[in-house]
Amino acid sequence: MTWFSIIIAGILTYFTRMTMIALVDRDMLGDKIKAVLEYVPSAVFPAIIFPAIFINDYGSFIEMNDPKIFGAIVADYCWLFFKKYYCNYFIWIDFLLVFNFCYI
């Protein structure tokens, strides 16, 4: 049953990826919708970021002094200042610092 569920989940996931690319004609979307779609990255990624930062594994809000908040702020600054790909390395270091020194 689990294998069957995985296959169904895989097909469902594939359909969410494929539908708009392969089955929907871009011209069907009006100019207003096309303009709104410009905001998709800004409208989608915070839905992943915010809960990951502000909500803990038990589903409740974290405290204001939680290292994850500082980690997120440092990560923001790294990107704003350097604007280069190697900034991800800074984010990585930031992440290691925050979790190795504050949690362990």
């Binding site: 689990t2 708009m20 409208a43 915010f50 790909y85 991800n88 979790f99």
Partner: protein, 228 residues
């Protein structure tokens, strides 16, 4: 004008920094699956069949929590429904491709790949074979995800939970959106989405992941109306 190979390589290069966060997350995904008592083959097959990051972890957690397969599959569908939005954006750049190519490319569209390729597409609209960039990002992500999940299955409980590797994923998304923080309209949309996601966090099937973007896009449409 860049060649197909150059575009593919550019896609690989553009996505490569994200590997620093995707690999640990993949390791977690593999390790969690085995820890929850699922067969290593099943955990690995998920990476191949679903290829959906967080949705894979949710799928395993929901099933191991005793919920029905229907609930697990619905959760995966809802979490991954954000890909509908990615597809709507990418369709502009892929419309000239054959149906078969569209079907194949669809499999490798993931969050980070979408973000990097979308950025590249906006700046290079005149390029002829833009989709090779998307193939470059997608293939790189796919290979890394498979290797990382496999490593997680093998390493299993050797990955210390205290490292907080799960936090690498929001960090990579911060890196993607942070450049838009300077634009006030995008900032409003981001805050709306973020706050809505916290507000609706307890919504069934993790549906906050699609509810909050829909609310944020509604706000974006209001902003556009005000701009006029």
């Amino acid at each position: 004008m860049l060649s197909k190979k150059q575009l593919f390589t550019k896609g690989m290069m553009d996505i490569s920094p994200h590997m620093l966060s995707v690999i640990p997350f993949g390791i977690i995904c593999g390790a969690i699956g085995v820890e929850l008592g699922f067969s290593p083959y099943l955990v690995y097959a998920m990476s191949f069949i679903i290829f959906g990051g967080a949705s894979q972890i949710v799928f395993l957690q929901v099933l191991s929590g005793g919920a029905s397969s229907l609930v697990a599959v619905t959760s995966v569908g809802i979490i991954n429904s954000r890909h509908l939005l990615y597809g709507a954006v990418l369709s502009e750049y892929l419309e000239k491709l054959s149906f078969l190519k569209k079907l194949l490319i669809s499999y490798i569209v993931v969050d980070q790949g979408f973000a990097e390729s979308n950025k590249f597409f906006k700046k290079n609209k005149s390029e002829q074979h833009l989709h090779y960039h998307l193939i470059g990002t997608g293939c790189t992500m796919w290979i890394c995800w498979q290797v990382a999940t496999l490593s997680g299955i093998i390493l299993g409980s050797f990955v210390p939970a205290e490292l907080g590797l799960k936090f690498t994923i929001p960090l990579t998304f911060i890196a993607i959106v942070v450049q838009d923080l300077k634009k006030i309209d995008h900032l409003i949309v981001m805050i709306t989405c973020g706050l809505s996601s916290l507000l609706f966090f307890d919504a069934p099937f993790k549906s906050y992941i699609i509810i909050s973007p829909v609310i944020a896009l509604f706000v974006a449409s209001l902003i556009l109306r005000l701009k006029k």
